[in-house]
C-alpha cells in the first residue's frame, strides 16, 4: 500500500466492493503471494552487492547486516544513499532505516522517519515515540496494549518488566528487548553455507609455502573422506587461509570430472600458493567443496595398464591445464547444426565425447579458418560466378592454377529478423590452388551485380 492509495482512503483488509466505491477507477488484481515471495528472493540476491548477509523479512521486508561493510562506501550514510539511489532506479517504493538491532531497524523503517540512521546505542530514544505495533507484536497483543491506552513504546519501556511480561506475554518483553539490544535475535540469512566444508586450526600460526601445501593436503584429506563416505565428488574446491589479522586468502580450482582425491586437489592448489601473502601467519584453513555430485566408486581394473582410464591421465591433465591457463583455453571442437562455416564448429568441454566424423567430409573445409576473413584485392575473375584467376593477399600475387566452386552459403535468415536478411550476405566459396600447390578458401560477398565491383575475402587455408 503506497502513499497514493493511502491518500485515497484505501486500507489493507478492505473489501474490494468498498474500495471500488471509494475509487471507481480502481483496477482490482489478484494477490499473488508466490510471485511476491519470488520477487523478494530476487531482491535478496540483488542486495548481496551491499552486504553478504541479507535476510528476507516476508512478506515485504529485507534485513541487511552491514556490520563491517559500510566503510566500503565511506560510511553508513553514504551506503544508505547508494542503496536508496539504486532501489529508486528500480522503481520500487521503499522505506529505509538503520539501527543497532534488527528490531529497532524494523520499527523505524515501518513507523519512523524514512532514512533515519540511529546513532550507536541511541535506538531507545528514537523508537520511544513509535506505537507499540512497531515492536512486531501479534495483532491481538498490539490491540490489547492499545486498549489499555499505551500508545507509545516509551510507555512500555517505563513499565516494570515482570508485570509487562505477565500482562502482555513474554513475547512482548522479548520483542522489546530485541529492539533495545538487550536480547538476542537470530536472522536467517539467505546464503546457506556449503555443508561441504572442512576446517583445520593450528596451535601455532604457519607461514611457509611448504607448510601451506601440507595443510592444504591435510584439509583436503578430511573433506575428501567425508565426500567418499557419502559417495560424492565435487567439481570445484575453494581453499581459504585465514590470517592472524582476520583476512582470508582464497584460491579456487575446478575439476573437469567430479573428484575427491586429496593428493590431486592439493597438487592443483600448490603452484598458486606462492602468490598468497601469509602476513604474520595463518591460523585456520578451510576447504569448501562446491558443485558436489554423486560419483560412483571407481573399479580398479586388472587390465588398467593396457587401457588407460580417463580418470588416470586425461582428466588430471585437463584440470592442470584449465587451472593454469584458464577455462576458455582448453577445449574440444564439436559439431553444430549450421552450414555457416565459422558456426559449424563450437568449442565444448575437453572431456565431452564427440561423435566421430561429425562433419560432412565431402564438403571440403579449410584446416586453418581465419577468425575474420581477410580482404584480398586485385582479383581477376573473368566471368560472373567464375573463380578468380589471380588475386593479391598479404602483398603476394597469387596465380590460381586449379579451382572449384562456387559453394553458395547463405546466412541463417531464420535466426534473426527477416528484414535483416539481405542478398549481400550470401557468400560464394571457391577452393583454389596456386602454382606452388597452396590451397586457399576464398569467397565473394554478395551476388554478382553488373557495375558493382565484387568484394573478395580469404577465409582459410587448406594446407
Amino acid at each position: 500500500m503506497d502513499a497514493v492509495a493511502h491518500g485515497l482512503g484505501l486500507r489493507v483488509g478492505q473489501k474490494a466492493t468498498d474500495a471500488m466505491a471509494l475509487v471507481p477507477e480502481l483496477v482490482p488484481a489478484e494477490a499473488e503471494p508466490e510471485a511476491d515471495a519470488q520477487a523478494l528472493s530476487a531482491l535478496v540476491d540483488w542486495c548481496v552487492r551491499f552486504s553478504p548477509a541479507v535476510a528476507a523479512d516476508p512478506p515485504d521486508g529485507l534485513m541487511l547486516d552491514i556490520a563491517g561493510v559500510s566503510h566500503l562506501w565511506g560510511g553508513e550514510a553514504e551506503l544508505m544513499a547508494d542503496f536508496r539511489a539504486r532501489l529508486a532506479a528500480n522503481g520500487l517504493p521503499f522505506r529505509l532505516a538503520l539501527a543497532d538491532t534488527p528490531g529497532a531497524a524494523w520499527a523505524l523503517a515501518h513507523y519512523g522517519v524514512d532514512g533515519v540512521i540511529a546513532p550507536l546505542g541511541g535506538q531507545g530514544e528514537l523508537i520511544a515515540p513509535l506505537p507499540p505495533a512497531a515492536l512486531r507484536l501479534e495483532p491481538e497483543t498490539a490491540a490489547q496494549i492499545a486498549r489499555l491506552g499505551l500508545t507509545r513504546i516509551g510507555q512500555l519501556m517505563e513499565l516494570p518488566r515482570a508485570p509487562l511480561a505477565k500482562r502482555f506475554g513474554a513475547q512482548t518483553l522479548e520483542r522489546l528487548d530485541q529492539a533495545l539490544g538487550r536480547g538476542r535475535e537470530a536472522l536467517t540469512f539467505r546464503r546457506p553455507p556449503s555443508p561441504w566444508i572442512a576446517r583445520l586450526a593450528f596451535a601455532e600460526p604457519i607461514s611457509t609455502p611448504d607448510d601451506m601445501a601440507r595443510v592444504s593436503q591435510d584439509v583436503a584429506v578430511r573433506l575428501c573422506a567425508r565426500l567418499e563416505r557419502e559417495g560424492k565428488g565435487a567439481r570445484r574446491f575453494e581453499i581459504a587461509f585465514h590470517r592472524l589479522d582476520g583476512k582470508a586468502l582464497t584460491l579456487a580450482i575446478g575439476l573437469s570430472l567430479a573428484g575427491r582425491d586429496p593428493a590431486r586437489i592439493a597438487k592443483l592448489f600448490q603452484p598458486r600458493l606462492e602468490t598468497l601473502d601469509p602476513g604474520f601467519g595463518i591460523e585456520v584453513v578451510t576447504l569448501v567443496a562446491d558443485r558436489v555430485e554423486t560419483t560412483t566408486a571407481r573399479q580398479v581394473r586388472l587390465d588398467s595398464l593396457a587401457d588407460a582410464a580417463v580418470e588416470d591421465g586425461l582428466a588430471p591433465l585437463v584440470d592442470r591445464l584449465i587451472n593454469r591457463l584458464g577455462e576458455g583455453r582448453v577445449w574440444k571442437s564439436g559439431p553444430r547444426e549450421s552450414h555457416v562455416p565459422e558456426q559449424s564448429a563450437v568449442s565444448g568441454p575437453p572431456l565431452k565425447a564427440v561423435a566421430p566424423r561429425a562433419w560432412d567430409p565431402e564438403r571440403p573445409r579449410p584446416l586453418r579458418l581465419f577468425r575474420r576473413p581477410e580482404p584480398v584485392d586485385s582479383v581477376m575473375a573473368p566471368v560472373p560466378d567464375d573463380p578468380p584467376v589471380q588475386f593479391r593477399w598479404r602483398n603476394r600475387l597469387i596465380r590460381v592454377r586449379r579451382a572449384e566452386g562456387p559453394e553458395r552459403i547463405a546466412e541463417e535468415w531464420w535466426t534473426g529478423p527477416i528484414e535483416a536478411a539481405a542478398s549481400s550476405h550470401v557468400r560464394d566459396y571457391y577452393r583454389v590452388e596456386d602454382e606452388a600447390g597452396t590451397r586457399f578458401w576464398l569467397f565473394r560477398a554478395g551476388l554478382y551485380e553488373t557495375g558493382v565491383p565484387a568484394r573478395w575475402w580469404l577465409h582459410g587455408l587448406f594446407g
Binding site: A355, P361, R396, R402, F462
Partner: protein, 263 residues
C-alpha cells in the same frame, strides 16, 4: 675372434640403444605403408614413435603453417586413433571440420591455446607425459636444445609422440634459427599441385612435398605424398592415410611425366 668382437659390438650397441631409449628397449615405429620409405628410418621400421618430430614450412607457410599442420595431422592420424591427441596452439585458427575432412579423427583432439612459446612447450611436455595421450602437436617458433631435450624426456615417459609444427607468430621478427637437434626427424613440408582424376574437374586430393632433412639413425629424402581419402566418405581401410606418390630427387621437384604412377 672377429665373431666374438662382432658379438660384443652388437651387444654394446644394443645396450647403448636401450640406454638412449630410457630403458624401454626397442622403441615402436609407425609404418608409412611403403617399404622403401620405411627404410629411411631407423631399423627400417617407419616413423619412430616415443620421440618428437619437427615439421616446418617455407615461404608464406612459415606464418600460416597450414601445410605442415595438415601433413603432421595425417602422419599421426593412425596414432590419434590409439589414444587421445592434444594440439597446442598460440593462435586458435585450427578448424576441426578441416581436420576431419583430411581424415584426422578430430573427435579425439583436445585443443589448447597457450599464452606464449614457453607456455606452449611446457603444456606439450605435460601432455606428452600423460597416460592415454598418444600424440601431441605443438605450434612453436623454435625449440632450443634444452626444451628439445625436455620434450624428448617427456616422450620417453609413456611412449607418446610429439610433433612440433614450426610457426612464426604473425608479424614476428622470425630471427630464431632452426636448431632442433633433439628431434628424431626434421621435415620441411609445402603444398604440391594436386592432380584430379581423369575426367574430373576442380582440385584433386591434396598433395604435399615433404623433405626429410634430418633423421637420427636414418637417411634424408624427399617425397611427394597424397591424401587419397581426403574429402570423401570411402577410404580409411586401415592403411596409412598418406600415400606415397613419388620419390623426389634431392631438393628438386619431380619430372612431370615418368613419376606419375598414380593419379
Amino acid at each position: 675372434m672377429s665373431g666374438f668382437r662382432d658379438g660384443a659390438l652388437t651387444a654394446l650397441k644394443a645396450k647403448i640403444a636401450a640406454l638412449e631409449a630410457g630403458g624401454r628397449g626397442d622403441s615402436a615405429a609407425l609404418s608409412l605403408g611403403d617399404p622403401g620409405l620405411d627404410a629411411c628410418f631407423p631399423h627400417a621400421a617407419g616413423l619412430p614413435l616415443g620421440q618428437w618430430h619437427e615439421i616446418g614450412g617455407e615461404g608464406m607457410e612459415v606464418e600460416t603453417a597450414a601445410a605442415p599442420a595438415a601433413f603432421a595431422a595425417l602422419l599421426a592420424a593412425p596414432l590419434a586413433a590409439r589414444g587421445e591427441a592434444v594440439w597446442i596452439l598460440r593462435r586458435d585458427d585450427l578448424f576441426a571440420p578441416g581436420l576431419v575432412g583430411l581424415g584426422f579423427p578430430a573427435e579425439r583432439l583436445i585443443q589448447v591455446c597457450a599464452r606464449d612459446e614457453a607456455d606452449a612447450l611446457a603444456v606439450a611436455e605435460d601432455a606428452l607425459a600423460t597416460i592415454g595421450v598418444s600424440a601431441v602437436f605443438v605450434e612453436a617458433e623454435a625449440v632450443d636444445l634444452t626444451a628439445g631435450r625436455r620434450l624428448q624426456l617427456a616422450c620417453e615417459k609413456r611412449g607418446a609422440t610429439g610433433f612440433v609444427i614450426r610457426r612464426r607468430p604473425f608479424g614476428g621478427a622470425g630471427t630464431k634459427a632452426a636448431t632442433g637437434s633433439a628431434a628424431a626427424t626434421r621435415w620441411r613440408v609445402s603444398g604440391a599441385a594436386s592432380q584430379p582424376g581423369p575426367g574430373e574437374f576442380g582440385l584433386g586430393p591434396p598433395r604435399w612435398t615433404a623433405t626429410l632433412e634430418r633423421c637420427r639413425g636414418g637417411r634424408p629424402g624427399a617425397w611427394l605424398f597424397e591424401a587419397s581419402a581426403a574429402y570423401a566418405y570411402e577410404g580409411h581401410d586401415g592403411t596409412h592415410p598418406l600415400r606415397l606418390v613419388a620419390e623426389l630427387g634431392d631438393r628438386q621437384l619431380a619430372p612431370s611425366t615418368p613419376l606419375r604412377r598414380a593419379g
